[in-house]
Amino acid sequence: MGVRRSSFRNALTLSLGLALAGRASGQEPGVRLTYRLRVMAAHAGDTIEIAHAEVAGPLDTDLRLHLAADSAEVGALLSVLPEPDSLTLDGQFLSRRNVGRSRHGLPVWTEDQYQRAARMGWGRAVRVLPFGRARSGGRALWLLATVDRTAGVGATRPTETVEVVEPDVVFTAEAVARPRRATVTLTLERGDTVSAPRVADLVPDGPPRAIDFSRGTGAATMLQVALAYPEPPPPGRDRVLARGADEVCLRVNDPAGQAPARVICGRLNNVARGVPLAGGDTLFVTFAWPGAR
């Protein structure tokens, strides 16, 4: 029995390694990955759907999910290691369970980190038991996960759709896709004067680019901007869940001044973020996915 389990592990490890090597080579052109998750619950002898999500993106897109209910919560980073006729669904899990209370009446939590992997067919549903096979209390929850691949022409922008039917359950699903490019919209503001927005298509770790901002009749301001990937988070929860992997950082430098460079990071979600600069100016930065080529 032990020999069979060991050979299965070896085969699984080999397939994970081969698939990871394949992923490292880049994205397969014209193929998009789609994760479909349905959060199911047992209710009065029946099964109901209490949330669902659909996340799609390039072939190297991962899925970061968070599910909390009753006295337990789980965060996971699901990734797909594609093969011609099947795929390996790999999950890095972080569980957090309430196991009791302290002498002061405060809740005591236990945290656990582990990995799960399973081979499945494209379009076939697998059952993910986020809180384990035997729940000590509370209601039974499970996820029906399906991974599919579809043809997509040059679309690098991931899409996310999450709908939670039951408000007692906290459920989020995010696409984790490393951006190859980013459309950066920059606006310089001083007091009531705002410059015209400047849009730049930047590549992470590419050369810096000088951008001129003109505000009304005043003198133009020139800033040097460069895009980079953020530093990897320290070992722990954020690294397991690949926090920051789907973010970019903009390094802003004023070549005329002596002030140190300012750095602002964020997801490509069209949310404006302000950076105070030396001299009273504020630079508003918006990161967005570039359009399909």
């Binding site: 002498r103 656990d112 000590s136």
Partner: protein, 113 residues
């Protein structure tokens, strides 16, 4: 020397049979209203009875004390057990408690049908 020390000295003399009748009467009148002196008198008599018994006097007996019966002992033991259980429960509540769930049972699983 306070008043009670003087009466205790008389109690010792009375236990040894050295007091006259008027002195014994005066001592009895005082002991009737003094619980401490009554206890001292009883102790003095018990000491002398114990000494006489150890010396081999066949008629010497210590004053019998009240003893619990078998049913009373059972009740006391049962009350002690119940009290211990309650104290343990309160201590458990005070010191906190962790559910005894195996780690593996709480871990996520991917089940392929």
């Amino acid at each position: 020397m306070d008043e009670h020390a003087e009466w205790r000295a008389r109690i010792g003399a009375a236990a040894d049979g050295e007091l006259s009748l008027p002195e014994q009467a005066a001592l009895a009148r005082h002991v009737a209203g003094c619980a401490a002196c009554a206890g001292a008198w009883a102790s003095a008599l018990e000491v002398r009875a114990a000494m006489a018994r150890s010396a081999g006097a066949p008629g010497a007996r210590t004053v019998p004390r009240r003893r619990l019966g078998r049913s009373a002992r059972r009740i006391v033991v049962a009350l002690l057990i119940v009290g211990g259980v309650i104290a343990g429960w309160l201590a458990r509540d005070w010191w906190g408690v962790a559910a005894d769930v195996p780690v593996e049972d709480g871990r996520a699983a991917i089940v392929v049908p």
